[in-house]
């Protein structure tokens, strides 16, 4: 049996006396689209930061494809095939869209820290950059400075940078936050398309998106996972309903 | 703002008038700002006055002369930048004195310039940088020194100490660069020869022009139990050393090259009497002609913040005039050849520019501070008074040289 794409074991993280993540154990299989939901302040972003290496766990472990990655620097985790996006757009604002994507492509194509050759000398880099731009429908904005992009395009660029390195495990942190309906639909399409055959972990508030996209959903409340199951089961789970009571309504079957 | 600059202005305006018609240009490359600024200004004003007198008496070979100041901040690199600038301004003669580190760089640069730009030679008149090497192994045809070098001055000091039986322990303190090191080495070797019984209880070198408070050094001197201190310090390093010495209340005598540095006597006050000694080529309180007295008084009146100290500035310019007129030319090479071996009757005796190494041979005087003087210094009534037997004739002060002079072809 192959190891799960991501495996969290008894993961805990405290800041001072505050326990933000408390004994989280979760396996995410290869190719699975896994959503993490929960009320505000439940620790979703902290969980992402733990997985992606920004934070070191207080205790417990994170494994990527069977390899222990807790305590490993983020850039090394990224090289092992895990890539993430951010809740607040985290792009290179002074560069053009094309340059942003190209930066994301560089390492996976073995460009390293080269300073003896032009960044345009590798045809592979050029092609891959174009491919990603096209994939994310950003080609016509390729030479626009990233800071001048409309919000939805910035979010698309965020995803583009995240997938550019060709990672197999993608973590998306609220990719559709703040978008209009039509923009959201476009984003979901993009996410679905770009994570074809990959493992996806997504944090979202928009339940429509979640139930549309996810194979399995974990519910995080006060740093603990109270349920982890396919969407249909989650919808009926009384514990989940209780946790969400008065927070936001779970979408009905018809949505 | 200050009286000092007011007087300098008077001189500058005179020079400014003459500069329009100046034919022979001199660059004065020395510190005109920073901690050593006052030392430079005292020298600069001396040259300005000397030039003014020469111009008033018809100039040199009928041509007017001009001395222009270039601030080098006592930094060798900056000096070379200023030197280049001066040469580009049409300067053919360089004056410099503060800092042997700078002098060494200028000698080197002048040698190279003259080699690379034949027909465009410049001469370097060194009026105060006294590292012996410049007129020994490191001698150059393009360099003339108008001040006695460290070995000569140290010989005068050690001769005096030889007769002082109560001095058993000597402390050496100096600035950490070739000059300070040369002074320390000379003191050590000469004392060993003349007074083998004397113990050198300290040999301290401190950074040049960086120490602001000499108290810890003075306390070390006191702790060492020294009977006398020998120092080559100059400028602010001399003044601040004396300030700390005065504060400490100790009564150790100081044998110095530059006790006459601005502010050193006033820092010690009456404590300087018979405790601060210096070796110089002249002091204002020597017997002299009325003409010389008039010059001293004119200087003081024009530059009240300084004292007539750089006698050698006047000697240097007057010797230039004599040499140029002997040669019948104001060009560097003829002047240089005329200077070689030239004898000049200076106000306090006879001076000879030794041809072998371009080292001026002149009388030296050991003096100490006294109240009973004609001219005070630092605008107080204390001044320098010749010691009994403090006069050292030029012949006695002379030291051998190892110079192997290379000369260009005589025109």
């Amino acid at each position: 049996m192959t190891a799960p794409a991501l495996s969290l074991k008894n993961l805990c993280k405290s800041f001072g006396p505050a326990k933000i993540i408390n004994d989280v154990t979760l396996d995410i299989a290869k190719g699975e689209r896994h959503a993490i939901i929960g009320p505000n302040g439940a620790g979703k972003s902290t969980l992402f930061n733990l997985i992606s290496g920004l934070y070191t766990p207080t205790s417990g472990t994170v494994s990527l494809n069977g390899t222990l990655i807790s305590g490993v620097a983020p850039f090394e985790i990224n090289r092992m095939g895990l890539s993430r996006s951010f809740q607040v757009s985290n792009i290179f604002a002074n560069m053009t869209v094309r340059e942003n994507v190209r930066c994301g492509v560089l390492h996976s194509l073995g460009q390293g820290y080269a300073f003896w050759k032009s960044v345009t000398s590798s045809k592979e880099v050029q092609e891959k950059t174009y491919e990603v731009l096209e994939h994310c429908s950003l080609v016509d904005k390729a030479n626009t400075p990233a800071a001048l992009l409309p919000y939805a395009d910035q979010r698309a660029l965020e995803i583009a940078i995240t997938i550019a390195g060709g990672a197999n495990v993608i973590l998306l942190d609220e990719p559709t936050a703040g978008m209009s309906h039509s923009e959201t639909d476009r984003a979901v399409e993009l996410i679905r398309k770009s994570t074809e055959g990959k493992t996806l972990v997504i944090v979202e508030h928009d339940m429509g998106v979640i139930f549309d996209l996810a194979d399995r959903i974990s519910v995080l409340v006060y740093g603990e996972i109270i349920a982890s199951a396919p969407p249909s089961e989650i919808r009926g789970d009384p514990k989940v309903r209780e946790a969400y009571l008065g927070d936001e309504a779970l979408p009905e079957e018809t949505v | 703002m200050s009286i000092k600059t007011a007087a300098l202005a008077a001189a500058v305006s005179v020079v400014a008038v003459s500069s329009a018609m100046a034919d022979v240009k001199f660059a004065f490359i020395d510190p005109l700002s920073g901690p050593m600024g006052p030392s430079g200004e005292a020298g600069y004003t001396s040259f300005l006055l000397a030039a003014e007198h020469i111009n008033a008496n018809g100039g040199v070979n009928g041509e007017q002369i001009e001395v222009k100041g270039y601030d080098n901040k006592v930094n060798p690199k900056e000096s070379l930048v200023q030197l280049q600038k001066a040469i580009d301004d049409g300067v053919r003669y360089i004056f410099q004195g503060n800092g042997s580190s700078v002098a060494a760089a200028i000698i080197d640069a002048v040698n190279k310039h003259n080699q690379r730009n034949p027909g465009d030679e410049v001469l370097f008149f060194n009026y105060a940088a006294v590292t012996p090497d410049f007129t020994n192994d490191g001698c150059s045809f393009w360099h003339f020194r108008f001040d006695a070098h460290a070995d000569m001055k140290m010989a005068a000091i050690t001769d005096y100490i030889q007769g002082q039986d109560d001095i058993k322990k000597v402390y050496l303190i100096g600035q950490d660069y070739i000059f300070g090191q040369a002074v320390a080495a000379a003191a050590e070797s000469q004392l060993k020869e003349k007074r083998p019984d004397i113990e050198i209880v300290g040999n301290e070198l401190h950074p040049l022009a960086k120490v602001k408070d000499f108290t810890p050094y003075i306390q070390k001197i006191i702790s060492s139990g020294a009977d006398a201190v020998i120092t080559g310090n100059w400028g602010a390093d001399m003044q601040l050393l004396m300030k700390a010495a005065a504060e400490s209340g100790s009564e150790i005598p100081y044998f110095t090259f530059y006790g006459g540095s601005l502010g050193a006597v006033s820092a010690l006050g009456e404590g300087a009497i018979d405790r601060l000694y210096q070796v110089t080529e002249a002091i204002t309180n020597l017997d002299a002609s009325d003409e010389q007295y008039a010059l001293i008084e004119e200087y003081k009146q024009r530059f009240p913040e300084y004292d007539y100290y750089y006698h050698r500035a006047f000697n240097a310019l007057n010797m230039f005039k004599q040499a140029a007129e002997t040669a019948g030319s104001n060009d560097p090479i003829p002047v240089a050849f005329a200077l070689e071996g030239m004898t000049y009757e200076e106000p306090y005796g006879t001076a000879t520019m030794r041809a072998d190494d371009h080292q001026l041979q002149q009388n030296l005087y050991i003096s100490t501070v006294s109240k009973d003087v004609k001219y005070g210094v630092d605008n107080i009534d204390l001044g320098w008074k010749l010691l009994d037997g403090g006069k050292i004739d030029a012949a006695a002060a002379e030291q051998p040289t190892t110079c192997q002079m290379e000369r260009p072809e005589k025109p």
Binding site: - | M1, S2, S33, L205, D213, P216, Q219, I222, A236
Partner: protein
């Protein structure tokens, strides 16, 4: 023994002087995140203002008036300069104060000349206080000690016993919180900047005459004050105090020791005539603070008593 006593006395006085300078800088840096490059320039202004005021009136008036004037200059700089560049981030602020230091030096050169001014110790204090081991100790240095300790007590009182002090203390460790408490943050910043500069000015007043008052005094003192702040730790006045005394003692002890490396490391067979063997401990004195800074930043970036890492 003599060496130790002398070094202790001088070291403590110098250390307290450093603290007078660095306490202001620590306050400003911790609260505002501004590393004030021009801090030592305010020290210089203090000395020059005092020189001018003393020429017109007396030292005692200068002692009070000069720091107040320097504080006002500081407040104006904060209000009309620093606040403007604040939006562009800390590096812009750092550049601004760097330029300011440059500017102050040039303005001082224009008004007071390029060489040192004759700023003298008041004659009332120009006598030896006592004599130890054959060296007299000037009364003025004792006076510096008294002023420095007075300032220490004053500052302590201000911070611990007044309401303004409590706000400042809160802001030291939690700079973002003060605004939430409804205080006028810009006003607090301006006041703290002014007080910090005034303290530096006071240091200038009492040190300018014992050292040298010239346009280079800021450049000479500036980097050492930085060292104190970093070594002491961000947000910690206690740390700045410890670091000041430590550096004061370190430098004065080093100057007092004539031993060379060859004497100390004799067991390694280091030759006294070799370049390294020839280095004396006293010649190390100017290097030591910076060595301490670099080692501190590498091995203990939060400083002696700091709460946050730099």
């Amino acid at each position: 023994m003599e060496t130790i006593v002398f070094a202790l006395l001088n070291g403590v006085i110098y250390g307290l002087l450093l603290f007078m300078l660095s306490s202001g800088l620590t306050l400003i840096f911790s609260m505002m995140g501004v590393l004030n490059f021009a801090h030592a320039s305010f020290y210089m202004l203090g000395a020059y203002f005092a020189f001018t005021i003393m020429g017109a009136t007396s030292f005692w008036i200068a002692l009070f008036l000069a720091p107040v004037l320097v504080g006002l200059v500081g407040a104006v700089v904060e209000r009309y300069g620093l606040r403007r560049v604040h939006a562009n981030g800390h590096v812009a602020e750092l550049l601004f104060t760097f330029g300011l230091a440059y500017l102050i030096e040039e303005i001082v050169k224009i008004f007071y000349g390029k060489t040192a001014v004759d700023y003298k110790i008041p004659s009332l204090l120009d006598f030896p206080a006592f004599t130890i081991y054959g060296a007299s100790f000037p009364a003025y240095r004792m006076f510096m000690l008294v002023i420095a300790i007075g300032m220490l007590i004053g500052l302590w009182f201000l911070l611990k016993k007044t309401r303004a002090g409590l706000i400042i203390q809160a802001a030291l460790t939690h700079p973002h919180m003060v605004g939430h408490l409804g205080h006028n943050v810009p006003l607090i910043f301006m006041t703290v900047f002014g007080i910090g500069c005034a303290l530096a000015g006071l240091a200038g007043v009492i040190a300018g005459n014992i050292f040298v008052t010239d346009p280079a005094m800021a450049v000479q003192m500036g980097p050492i004050v930085f060292v104190v702040v970093v070594v002491g730790g961000i947000g910690s006045l206690e740390g700045a105090f410890l670091a000041s005394i430590l550096i004061g003692l370190l430098q004065n002890f080093a100057v007092g020791i004539s031993a060379s490396f060859a004497d100390i490391f004799w067991f390694t067979g280091l030759s006294p005539t070799s370049e390294i063997g020839d280095i004396t401990v006293s010649s190390l004195a100017p290097v030591l603070p910076f060595l301490l800074l670099v080692l501190m930043l590498i091995f203990r970036p939060r400083g002696l008593m700091g709460e946050q890492e730099l």
